[in-house]
């Protein structure tokens, strides 16, 4: 099940809300959440739900072990971390990377070792990282050990962030697992976030995503320059609206049940440099690698270039077991390194419009690497972009596709700037000024939200194109 699904919105969610709020105390409410979370997960992974529970159990025990050792001031505590890393990364490598690794080993050595590709259990890339963050934080003293297995299971399995992030660290929700206060403000903000995320996903991401796929399929005919550029642009919008929409829904759901997650996106396309982009894009992943890989390796202090290379290799590799993701990660790493060396200073001096243009071009180039797992097609697209394939620069199909969705495209461009945030801050500021103006603004806001929900729901009735891009991680 995904959030942008009628069964979720109009059956699972209301049922969960009602049962959750029927119970007065947190223990029962946690029980409701665990049951619904496991049901949610087993809907997509009826078998691998056991892996999820097993993974939670292992790190729960590791946490207890580390805590015990630390109390005795025993050095053995580090074993707990090692165990957690080995088991979690082992599971991740087995399911996600073993096929890729074997293929490449075979290709390099000429052997023909058996290649087995597993279907990836949903959300495995997210929850293994979450449990790693827990054991490491307990070891480093950033988090207190969780003594209740059910509470820990709740953290791991919480359906809001289970399948497609954000990567919520244990420390973020540790207190709220056992103590949550209902707040009507959280509730209404949560609903608002959820509906906005749904709209981002269903109205914008799905519309532009289907255009991107249509333009970038070029199997029987070469791609025109217009089609290649438009396709990459549409994909850039799709992946942002898709993923940030999902994060919005996750954060919104969290708020509806009293959890406060960190933001995962912060208008990345308004960045002026690659480093800034990654402080605004998938923040939970970037900060995870920063705090659990880059800084422990020495950060800026020792062999910084190596650290950068490792972090960006991993960032790329995390996105998929395929070379194009690795190239994509290293591409960003290269930009970040160049910026650190000298480009940053240059960008600071010239008008900011160049920074924006540079970043947008970089992002587009990046998404091109990201989109094509087939390197041959990547080449085809690249040559197409610069009219190097001997076909006319534009074509009717591209023109009609863009024209046929132009309002959505304009909306996508406008709302990738912080327009909504500005409007909503202005609205809240009105509360202190004028009751009438505030009422009017709030009525308007509710009407817009209702409209988004209605449009999204109707589109979902007949929407066959509804993938979540980040679902395969």
């Amino acid at each position: 099940m995904v959030f942008s699904d009628l069964l979720f919105i109009y059956m699972f969610l209301p049922l969960c809300l009602v049962l959750y709020y029927i119970f007065p105390n947190t223990t029962y409410r946690n029980g409701v959440l665990i049951i619904f979370s496991l049901a949610f997960y087993s809907f997509g992974e009826p078998v691998w739900v056991l892996l999820l529970i097993g993974s939670a159990l292992v790190d729960y025990l590791n946490g207890l072990f580390i805590d015990k050792c630390k109390k005795r001031r025993s050095r053995a505590a580090v074993l707990g971390v090692v165990m957690s890393l080995v088991i979690n990364l082992g599971v991740l490598i087995l399911f996600k990377y073993s096929g890729f690794i074997m293929e490449n080993v075979n290709a390099l050595t000429g052997l023909s070792l058996p290649v087995r590709r597993f279907t990836l259990p949903i959300g495995i890339s997210f929850y293994t990282f979450q449990t790693i963050s827990y054991t490491v934080d307990v070891y480093c003293g950033r988090a207190r050990v969780q003594r209740s297995f059910l509470d820990f299971l709740l953290y791991v399995s919480l359906f809001f962030q289970l399948v497609a992030g954000p990567i919520v660290r244990y420390t973020t929700v540790a207190n709220e697992i056992s103590r949550r206060r209902f707040s009507i403000f959280d509730m209404s903000r949560g609903i608002e976030r959820f509906v906005l995320g749904l709209g981002k996903k269903v109205i914008i991401a799905n519309s532009l995503g289907s255009i991107a796929d249509e333009l970038l399929t070029f199997e029987t005919a070469p791609v025109s320059a217009a089609a290649a550029w438009a396709g990459i642009l549409m994909f850039s919008f799709q992946i942002y609206y898709d993923f940030s929409g999902y994060s919005d829904m996750a954060i919104g759901l969290g708020l509806m049940f009293g959890f406060h997650f960190d933001e995962n996106f912060n208008y990345p396309y308004i960045s002026k440099s690659a480093s800034e982009f990654w402080r605004r894009w998938h923040i939970s992943l970037g900060s995870f690698f920063r705090d659990y890989v880059y800084i422990p390796m020495g950060g800026n202090r020792s062999h910084q270039i190596l650290n950068i290379a490792v972090v960006w290799f991993l960032t790329g590799f995390w996105h998929g077991a395929s070379w194009n993701y690795i190239f994509w990660g290293l591409f960003w790493g290269l930009l970040v390194a160049i910026e650190k060396l000298f480009l940053r200073k240059v960008l600071d001096k010239i008008p900011s419009v160049f920074g924006h243009l540079y970043l947008l071009a970089a992002a587009a180039a990046g998404w091109m690497l990201f989109y094509f797992e087939d390197l041959g097609k990547l080449k085809q697209c690249f040559f197409g972009m610069f009219g190097m394939n001997g076909i006319p620069l534009s074509d009717e199909i591209t023109a009609s596709l863009l024209k046929g969705s132009c309002f959505v495209i304009i909306a996508a461009a406008v709302f990738s700037c912080p327009v909504y945030r500005m409007l909503s801050e202005k609205t809240e500021a009105l509360a202190a000024k004028s009751a009438l103006a505030y009422t009017a603004a709030k009525i308007g806001e509710n009407i817009v939200l209702l409209g988004i929900l209605a449009v999204s729901s109707i589109l979902l009735v007949k929407q066959s194109y509804n993938p979540f891009l980040y679902f395969r991680y």
Binding site: P14, F185, S188, G404, V461
Partner: protein, 623 residues
Amino acid sequence: MRYVRINLKADARKRAAAIITTSIFTALFIGMGAVSLILERPTVSETENRDLETLPGFSVQSYLSGNFAAQLDKYFTDTVPFRDKLTEYAAVLENAKGIPSPQFYGVKIVNPESAEMIDAFEQDTLTEPVVHDEKSRTADQSDGTSLVPAETVSPSVTAPPAASAPSAASGTETSPNAESSGDEEFVGDISDFLNNGILVDGVDMYGEKAGIMLFGGNDKQGQRYAELISSYKRELGDGVNVYNMVVPTSVEFYLPKKYSKFSNSEKREIEFIYSKLTDGVIPVDAYSAIEAHKDEYIYFRTDHHWTDLGAYYAYTAFCNAIGQTPPALSDYTVKTKDEPFVGSLFGYTNNIILKNNPDTFTYYMTKSDFKGETYNYRTITLSEANPIYHQYATGSNMYGMFLGGDGYHIKITTSAGTGRKIVMFKESYGNAFAPYLIDSFDEIYVIDIRYFGKNALQYIKDVGATDVLFINNVFAANTSKLIDGIERLLISPTGTIVYTAPAETTSVPVETDQQGLPIGQVSQTQPPQQTVQGQQMQQVQQTQQTQQVQQQTQPPSANTQPAQTAQPVQSAQTQPVQQSQQVQQVTAAPAVTAPPAATTQPAATAPPAPAATVTQTVTSPAG
């Protein structure tokens, strides 16, 4: 102090706003959830012409495999209350996403020099099993629910030349009715045919916006098609005339020049196929006959079929070939459906422009007498009445008016008196064409290539046919799946055929179909009003004359004749006729008014009392 008070006020306002937002939306989520449980869920989509998903039964196995959850999810979305209405709104919303402009669904540039479409079906196994049960169709259709244009509309389009294996698989999956059964009032599916996608808008037909299915073409399959038909002639010898008619489609005459790179020339392909015919197969030049009338309403704007008028012009070409003079158009009873027709192209693209420019469904009914019977494909022996003109067909199914859809294996006995018997092999284009043959042949056997599984040569000999016609649109004549069918009919073992031609005086035991309704033998002559009066033959089927059918040749009062509406079987016309059972129900219904079991008399001359007399009184004043 004042500052604090303002803040307190602001907080109160914010709190009120939060409470209101929360109340509205939680009420909405919970209320909609409750409503969606309480309200009746639709089981059939009329606009999409398919059964909707069903609630899965729970079993541990289905749960563990994930099928249960997936099916539950599909079911919930697919059977949302008011689904057809909501999908219509969805189409409006899709249209509002931008400035209306020509929409391409799965269209790619083709090579104008030669037809070289890759046929996704080519990789399929040679022989498709002839499926004849309900379940398989439903199962097939369940995967056809998604309407991703590029994939569903033209599986072939996304098939790269090189990577044949995966593309073949995807082609099979996305062809929802690849193995659809034969007993539906169910008309040919776009994805049955190799095509190059659909263009909607940007095309005008007869002064209104239209959709068009683009032609990719495939010479290799075209050649195979011609060779197979030639081998029919070779096997049948001189005693039987074999005709081949390849019908052009709308794209050939109405595609604007600027889009010509998206479609190959059908004329070239038809000429190519005809040039490959050997052994004395007689080609029928439908192309010229149709082209001469391209300013008339000969193709639908919202459906991939031709209109009955288009089929008539093809029939004139056929008459030319068989040495007959066709009746003039004015010799037919012309009727037009009151209800506008929105056909398959809308079903596939969901493009509201098609819905807003619906077709007018006009048809031409022969005034001659005939009797239509349907044979079950599996047993061949069992027969039931087939009115040939299924005038109750409504909605997106309207093309099912002809013959009742694709699936039927039909015999028509006529009063033409030409001494000739024809076996006709067709796909859905042949449905509109077949009734015209009533004036040219004594017996007409209609066989849909896709659904018939017996040996065709034996069949042709058994029924004593003098003529054989292959009639296919040019897409079909390029599609391996259909051509495989032609081959299968040719080579399938002869022993399996158990055809016994029923005599004119058939007595058929009352059989019970799945719904427990009796299937009787009913005389089927067609009821053009003018002919009927003054004729001794009576027409039970006439009771089904729908009110939706406007009789152009009649004064308007004809529609309001009391007796007509008083007929018990009138209820049939209001049913959404989608299911075979329903079709049978309708055809069976008249039998109730006729003496049921053993109608041993020649049905045509036996006007069974009640129904006939009633109808008689109906028709008398009209003339």
